[in-house]
Symmetry: C2
Subunit: 334 residues, 2 copies
Amino acid sequence: MNPSFNVAVVGATGSVGETLVQILEELAFPVATLHLLASMESAGSSVMFAGRKVRVREVDSFDFGQVRLAFFAAGAAVSRSFADKARQAGCAVIDLSGALPDALALVPEANAQALHGLAQPAWVCSPSAAAVALAVTLAPLRQHLEIERIHVTACLAVSAQGREAVNELARQTAELLNARPLEPRFFDRQMAFNLLARVGEEDAQGHSVLERRLVSELRVLLGLPDVKIAVTCIQVPVFFGDSYSVSVQTRRPVDLAVVQGALDSAPSIERVEADDYPTPVGDAVGQDVVYVGRVRLGIDEPEQLNLWMTTDNVRKGAALNAVQVAQLLIKDMV
Amino acid sequence: MNPSFNVAVVGATGSVGETLVQILEELAFPVATLHLLASMESAGSSVMFAGRKVRVREVDSFDFGQVRLAFFAAGAAVSRSFADKARQAGCAVIDLSGALPDALALVPEANAQALHGLAQPAWVCSPSAAAVALAVTLAPLRQHLEIERIHVTACLAVSAQGREAVNELARQTAELLNARPLEPRFFDRQMAFNLLARVGEEDAQGHSVLERRLVSELRVLLGLPDVKIAVTCIQVPVFFGDSYSVSVQTRRPVDLAVVQGALDSAPSIERVEADDYPTPVGDAVGQDVVYVGRVRLGIDEPEQLNLWMTTDNVRKGAALNAVQVAQLLIKDMV
């Protein structure tokens, strides 16, 4: 019988944290005791796990020496405050906030081999949902394409910003349909029936933190430290499911049949073509794979591969990837 | 005093046709008599022009010999059936349907010079809204950038497909918010809170007619017949205003200050930057210019210019451009 581990989930009441707890149960992750943690405001509630209610406690007073593995899904500030405490207590850390720049970005389908020789306790991160989706899709194509440059327009669902953003899109939409004056709260302007071309703060060069993060994570995940990546992240009026318009420049002509074959044999990819294409609502929500469609060469340019992807940003893009990383990590734990 | 011309607008009851009639009035286009035409189903109604009601008549029985200039804004089938009849009657044709492949694509800000030596009567087209927006924005940059390749993800508003599409997005949204079962009618699936990654039919290579059209029109408009253009057109749950995520590869490093200066001096462009960015709802609707924001170099790649554009697809992308083309045409008419 496999050994079991005491596990902590920090941010257990958020949408990613809650999904993560569900997935631990679905995948029968070998949990001995599950500790659910949150900031003071969210502590006290309960979350179901394996048929019983687990009380959510305050992260501030938790002794990480009790657990072997901790997921941090409570946002950047909490990771910055407590992840190092967990590591010092000998606990492996899987961060989902992106706030730990020296944590190794991991997507099992792309760079599982990077775990070999990793210092213990592990200090890793589940990357941004965009990096997960792109790594899952492009990793099986690496050996068939000499990738020179990747262009991505990432159309991000509001759920990436949490439940408040989901409620705000619904509220704004209802007000507009009822011809009531719009008063934006969570977003700084109208999100309903609109596109917001910037997600988060911009740096002096005009790139957002999320765009920079995607570039650096994807280079690590694909093992292509010098690959050029152009990325624009936009917020779209979609509740769940991120979508990506992707164009890959290659050094040699692309063999479309080989690409289609590689996508079809990848376990975490579902190709939706032949008079159809994937959509966030129709395909992504609640699913464990990345849906890929509109796979085509460039117009007058065989050294270009274009495709469209969509995936559940909360599940495959965050919670599921983190648990899959944990499944790899525990192989080295006794 | 300038001469006046008898003018016909075919498709006067559609959203583009109606806007076109408004713009003829706003810009004081020298109209002697305005003939409003439509297919049998739409004929019989009236449209206001210059303070009086103009009756919409059937295009089938119209004698184009009565007019010097005809706008065709009633879709591909009507242009195919009647545009040649108009030309044979000596009437200049400005097509907005894209159905006349030998019609010269014109955007005054980009290729006004192409009118010199044009055979009479003129046989021209106002290109797709995407080609108009991109030509207006990139034309003033041509002399400063050696453009090698253009990547575009075009996020198209439903209004490009007419009033029925606008009503369908509103209806679907209301049904979903009221938790009623969704029955798609105009679109073949859920459009509300969703992204549709294909607009129109795909060819055997996987490109849509609209994507092919954008590439061929933009090459003509920019005078760059060999430029590589990668384009993905998606339908977004936005009523009015198209948006474009654009990345331009250049042969030499881009001087950002020069680009910003060129955008700022172009009369049909408004740059929205400095802690802000343009959105279809906030900026595009009802406006005559293309809004440009997020102007920035590539990450680790100075030979790349990225930007975000948004514009009123019905007005600047179609009706206004067609009238601006007409203003150029009548300079050569006596």
